[in-house]
């Protein structure tokens, strides 16, 4: 059984239909990259999975547990949504670290508040995560003292600290200077090798192909093509995918 099942997710803002029935599944330990032009709904999809937006229709299931089902609209109190969110982690394009806390405190805050993890254990976990991100000597720095690439790696450690079932990335390197993207991509690549289940929205096509098992090409709120990452990105079948990728090849 797939770890994550997403069926027919629809989302409207006022009159505009942003997601028009998105479906896919993801197995444990696998990762999927989502590509598509600007405005195709990639961010909105991730926000729906993390319940920052409520889908209008569809179904979201993790490990067989139904987290969202528009045909049985119940169990959507704030407290329940808060609990359901913990199945997912989200790494933002703009990091969104908490500026008043050090790197280490950023990672420790939520496990302490949300899961009541004992202080010693929490600190050990957080330090281990930061060292995994190559940030051991940066753990006591505040976000403004870190480069964009370092901030993003702290944000990844912070998301991992809650041990989400699925970790989502929304263009994790788009806000970075080109020379800093490498260090963040390397960390994500390592997570993929360690079998972290991930959904990666990215404009880095080579990365999307190499790091993910599957790829999904989205356009105007629908899944146009999906399959193995190498197939979709190197040998696209659909005309729209080909056009999109050739525009990238030129750039």
């Amino acid at each position: 059984m797939a770890l994550l099942e997403v069926e027919n997710i629809c989302k409207r803002f006022e009159k505009t239909e942003v997601l028009k029935g998105i479906s896919f599944t993801l197995n444990e330990g696998e990762s999927v990259s989502i590509i598509g032009s600007s405005g195709s709904g990639k961010t909105t999809l991730l926000r729906c999975l993390n319940f920052l937006e409520m889908p209008d229709e569809g179904l979201i299931r993790v490990r067989g547990e139904t987290l969202f089902d528009s045909s049985a609209p119940a169990g959507n109190t704030e407290e329940e949504i808060r609990r359901k969110r913990l199945h997912f982690g989200l790494v933002f394009q703009s990091f969104n670290l908490f500026p008043q806390y050090t790197a280490l405190e950023n990672v420790m805050l939520s496990p302490r508040l949300v899961n009541g993890v004992p202080e010693e254990e929490n600190r050990k976990n957080a330090e281990a995560l930061l060292s995994q991100m190559g940030l051991t000597d940066r753990k006591d720095n505040y976000p403004h003292q870190l480069s964009g690439g370092q901030q993003q790696r702290v944000a990844i450690a912070r998301a991992l600290a809650l041990k989400p079932d699925v970790l989502c990335f929304d263009e994790p390197t788009s806000a970075l200077d080109p020379e800093l993207t490498g260090e963040v991509l390397r960390v994500i690549r390592k997570l993929s090798e360690e079998k972290t289940t991930m959904i990666i929205v990215t404009h880095e096509m080579a990365f999307a192909r190499d790091v993910a098992d599957q790829a999904i090409f989205m356009d105007e709120g629908v899944v146009v093509e999906q399959g193995s990452a190498v197939e979709v990105i190197d040998h696209p079948k659909e005309e729209r995918t080909k056009q999109f990728l050739s525009r990238y090849a030129e750039a």
């Binding site: 993390n50 319940f51 920052l52 704030e78 808060r82 609990r83 969110r85 913990l86 997912f88 982690g89 989200l90 933002f92 703009s94 969104n96 670290l97 908490f98 500026p99 008043q100 805050l109 939520s110 508040l113 949300v114 505040y142 976000p143 403004h144 912070r158 998301a159 809650l162």
Partner: protein
């Protein structure tokens, strides 16, 4: 003479201080409540509150003092403030609290709304409750941003307390001025400026210190 004047002015300054401290004590929290009200999505709450803020910020505090002290008497045909010094002090305090709550609420609102929405969303995605997000993530960032405008407003309050004497609340200028009539000397009135200067200087140092303490993050 100098000693007599100084003692008298000190006594007046205690009245000033009392009004200053009590105004802060009530208007700092009340301002926060008003700011939440003005940001409420419920129109029945936000519209009247915005109207109140507009009226209070759009009219002189001097006028508000007069309206609050004399208004109820004219409308209800009785003095709700009680008689004597205490009654006038309470009326002045009420006027100051309403006025400063409205000003503070606008500063709070500006501070709260200047926090990027990504900070709330990061907290949400990390499974925090609304109150955890507000108290553990947002609040300190708001405090950092509002310290400079708040210190301006609070130093203005030090000087604004002198307006209370329009309804005969004793404070330092009242005492200074009384020497003109009783002794025919005007310098005690000018001397009151020293007290204001020293006190606002002290506050400036305090706020500077707070700003410094919050300098460790951006």
């Amino acid at each position: 003479m100098f000693v007599t004047v100084t003692l008298s002015l000190l006594e007046g300054f205690l009245g000033t201080l009392r009004l200053f401290c009590l105004t802060l004590l009530f208007s700092l929290p009340l301002g926060l409540i008003i700011s939440f009200g003005s940001m409420s999505r419920v129109k029945v709450i936000s519209v009247p509150i915005k109207l109140l803020i507009w009226v209070i910020r759009g009219t002189p505090l001097l006028l508000q003092l007069l309206v609050i002290y004399y208004g109820p008497g004219i409308l209800l045909q009785k003095n709700i403030w009680g008689s004597g010094d205490a009654g006038r002090f309470i009326a002045a305090l009420v006027a100051f609290v309403i006025n400063y709550s409205c000003y503070f609420s606008e500063i709070y609102r500006g501070g709260i709304q200047s926090i990027p929405v990504g900070q709330y969303e990061a907290g949400q995605v990390l499974g925090m409750t609304k109150s955890q997000i507000f108290f553990r993530v947002i609040l300190l960032q708001v405090v950092k941003r509002i310290v400079p405008p708040m210190s301006n407003e609070i130093i203005t309050l030090v000087k604004d307390t002198s307006l209370a004497r329009v309804i005969a609340v004793y404070e330092i200028i009242w005492n200074g001025q009384s020497f003109i009539k009783s002794e025919g000397i005007i310098w005690p009135l000018f001397y009151t400026g020293v007290f204001y200067l020293l006190f606002s200087g002290l506050l400036t140092i305090l706020f500077h210190y707070i700003e410094k303490r919050l300098d460790y993050f951006r």
